[in-house]
Amino acid sequence: MTSTRELAQPPARPLLKKKSALLTSRRRRTGWGWRGTPYVFLALPVLLLVLFTYVPVANMFWYSLTDWDGLDKTKTFVGIDNYVSVFTRPELFRVFFVSLYYFAASFIQMALALYFATILSFSTRFRNLFKGILFFPYLVNGVAIGFIFLYFFRPDGTLDALLDIVGLGDLSRPWLGDRDVVNFSLASTSIWRYMGLNFVLFLGAIQSIPNQLYEAAELDGANRWQQFRFIIAPGIKPIIGLSFILAISGSLAVFEIPFIMTGGSNGSETFVIQTVNSAFKFSKVGLASAMAVVLLAIVLVITWIQRKLVPEEKVNLT
């Protein structure tokens, strides 16, 4: 027994080339368990996913084909009626205009995140403290953020007081009450909230770039900007691409911040707020499900187009 084990294990490495022979010997030793083990570990998370994601989504597809009001015991099948009414009511799509504010904001958000991530990737004093500070807003509960900024934006609130101190009191206006600025206010709240996430993604990617590259660049006389331009930026391209996709789908599906702060009133309504209102204010769960399906389709299509236009490239820094 002992001798066979000793024989089987230590030479395993040099024998890696004979992979198939090795695998069969292992398989024999542990029976089906070797092949089955990963599936056992996968079973629970997949089960939870099916239970809490795929079944509800399937249900949503089914609801979107009915006239269900969210409570009735019967759900009448109405075919594609709900989809027809989604696409024949242009006012439902007009709210996507609001998403543009958040889409534009997401570029500012990514630029800021990239800026901070780059600075903090060099050895800066207190960098861990700053990392914490920058990431913190993302950890705060969205409802709390809504209320914090409600106070921030109210007349004579924090923002107005700040402007007064720096002598720009004339700029004060009803930040949420003025239809011309309400979406800027909400989009900048969104930047404040989600910048931390982008920042951490970028920082992680930057830190995975091997150190020798910087050293070599410094020896060649590259300054910080050149290091960023030719090492960091190409090195984290996939992450920037991912953030871009998240930014698009995120700005189409904005919900939390405008819903808590304005309830979608005064021209700040987004598509998801409209969906929620249809379902829970006007008891049109069927129509709302159709709207949700349409949004899902739009996000998928845009992601697909984006992947076609900007194909994923293998990053090779060496």
Binding site: P174, T262, S265, N266, F282
Partner: protein
């Protein structure tokens, strides 16, 4: 086309539900009779008054009730987002034994979810406000308290502005707001826009403008409810003019409901449109409760004011409950003996209940004020108003269109008042055509 088929299905379900209800009742009876009819068991009461649950008021009721029925144990479950959460939970069978009927349940759905408490005729001998939650001749819920509609105001501020007589028309009311704006520092009319639900309080006045107890019956027959002189026009027009005149808070989007109570008491706010349930809360928050007054909607028919009265949340019994008799005992005790309605300063749901002290201002008006209760919808037409309202996506009792009205009136959109009301009329008429066809 839809409503017909839906109604027929609903009828089938009513029949089915009542059969199930009867068999359940029978089996429950036979089970209980072994114990000499003694009521026993645990009942769960879902409550929207999380504030009363936290401050222990409800525990006091529980103790009293359990003293009378020693074998019943009451447990409360407070739900903050009551409307949304309970409606979702009603898709299961587990929604307590006793609960308040959520506002979005249509009358034809009542038999599917709640145990009938008796015929409306029987209930009407004892209770008020039963029309609201009845269907097909049966009552499904009993209001815990009743409200009269009006506007709370700070009497000191109004007097300071030189307004001593109650305004009897929207014009006089606007003049009064103007006087308050020019002579005092108070906000003449506070909308509480950001809290959403306060703007829906305006809707409660519908029916009182024309003193029409059949208003809700005729509403589904009307293709243009927002035409001059009609109830909804008068109410919304008053709100529009007050907003346009600049008599409301500077930035409605950042209002604060909790703070507004104290601001009314201290004279920073002059007026708010809220049901009589709010009077007690305003008095509690005021330095001097005597400063808080209550006035009817500024409109008179033949020289008298009219105030709509109606039930607040209605308590009902879960049709799936295993302790229906115990649940019924709780409801009866709560209405007749708990003293809840008086403690809330509301109208008692009992026919022989006294007028609460909070409504002293209304009582002082004597014959100049008439309480008006809306008649129930005619059989088969119970859901028309809701159906049209939902199809039009207007939301009479939701905040959406009145918030849009406030935004338009303060110049955030290009819409004029006529355009705004025309749009409402068009949407209503289209939805009506849809629902009625």
């Amino acid at each position: 086309m839809f409503p017909h088929s839906r109604r027929r299905r609903a009828a089938a379900f009513t029949a089915l539900a009542s059969v199930i209800g009867l068999t359940a009742a029978c089996s429950a009876d036979s089970g209980e009779s072994n114990d000499d009819g003694v009521m026993a068991g645990d009942i769960t009461v879902l409550t929207w008054r999380t504030d009363l649950l936290e401050d222990g008021t409800l525990d006091g009721y529980k103790a009293e009730f359990e003293k009378k029925y020693p074998d019943i144990t009451v447990e409360f479950e407070g739900i903050t987002d009551y409307e949304g959460e309970v409606r979702t939970r009603m898709n299961t069978e587990d929604y307590g034994d006793v609960l308040g009927i959520p506002g979005t349940i249509t009358p034809e759905q009542l038999p599917d979810f709640f145990e009938p408490l008796g015929t409306t005729e029987e209930l009407a001998k004892e209770y008020r406000f039963i029309n609201d939650k009845s269907y097909d001749g049966n009552g499904y819920g009993i209001a815990v308290v009743g409200n009269a509609q009006g506007l709370v105001y700070n009497t000191k501020v109004w007097a300071e502005a030189g307004v001593t007589d109650l305004p009897t028309s929207p014009e006089e009311f606007l003049d009064a707001l103007d006087a308050i704006a020019t002579t005092t520092d108070a906000i003449p009319l506070y909308t509480n826009y950001a809290a959403n639900w306060p703007v829906t309080q305006w809707d409660a006045h519908r029916g009182s403008i024309t003193a029409d107890e059949e208003f809700n019956r005729s509403l589904p027959e009307d293709d243009a409810p927002w035409s001059e002189g009609k109830d909804l026009y008068v109410i919304d027009s008053l709100l529009w003019d007050a907003v346009e005149g600049g008599y409301i808070e500077e930035d409605p989007t950042t209002t604060d409901w909790e703070a507004s109570k104290g601001m009314l008491g201290s004279g920073k706010i002059a007026t708010m449109a809220l049901g009589s349930w709010a009077i007690g809360q305003m008095q509690d928050a005021a330095d001097d409760p005597a400063d808080i007054g209550y006035m009817p909607f500024p409109n008179q028919v033949d020289g008298t004011f009219h105030s709509i009265i109606g039930g607040d949340y209605n308590q009902a019994i879960n049709v799936h409950s295993e302790h229906k008799e115990e649940a019924r005992a709780w409801i009866d005790w709560f209405n007749a003996e708990s003293g809840y309605a008086e403690s809330q300063g509301g109208l008692s749901p009992l026919l022989d209940g006294d007028m609460p002290e909070t409504l002293a201002d209304f009582e002082a008006l004597g014959d100049d004020l008439v309480y008006l209760e809306q008649l129930p919808a005619e059989p088969g037409k119970e859901t028309l108003v809701t159906d049209i309202d939902n199809a039009a996506e207007i939301g009479l009792q939701k905040e959406i269109y009145r918030k849009a009205l406030i935004d338009a009136a303060r110049g955030q959109t290009d819409e004029t008042k006529d355009e705004f009301f025309d749009d409402l009329n068009t949407r209503w008429a289209e939805a009506r055509a849809d629902v009625m066809s």
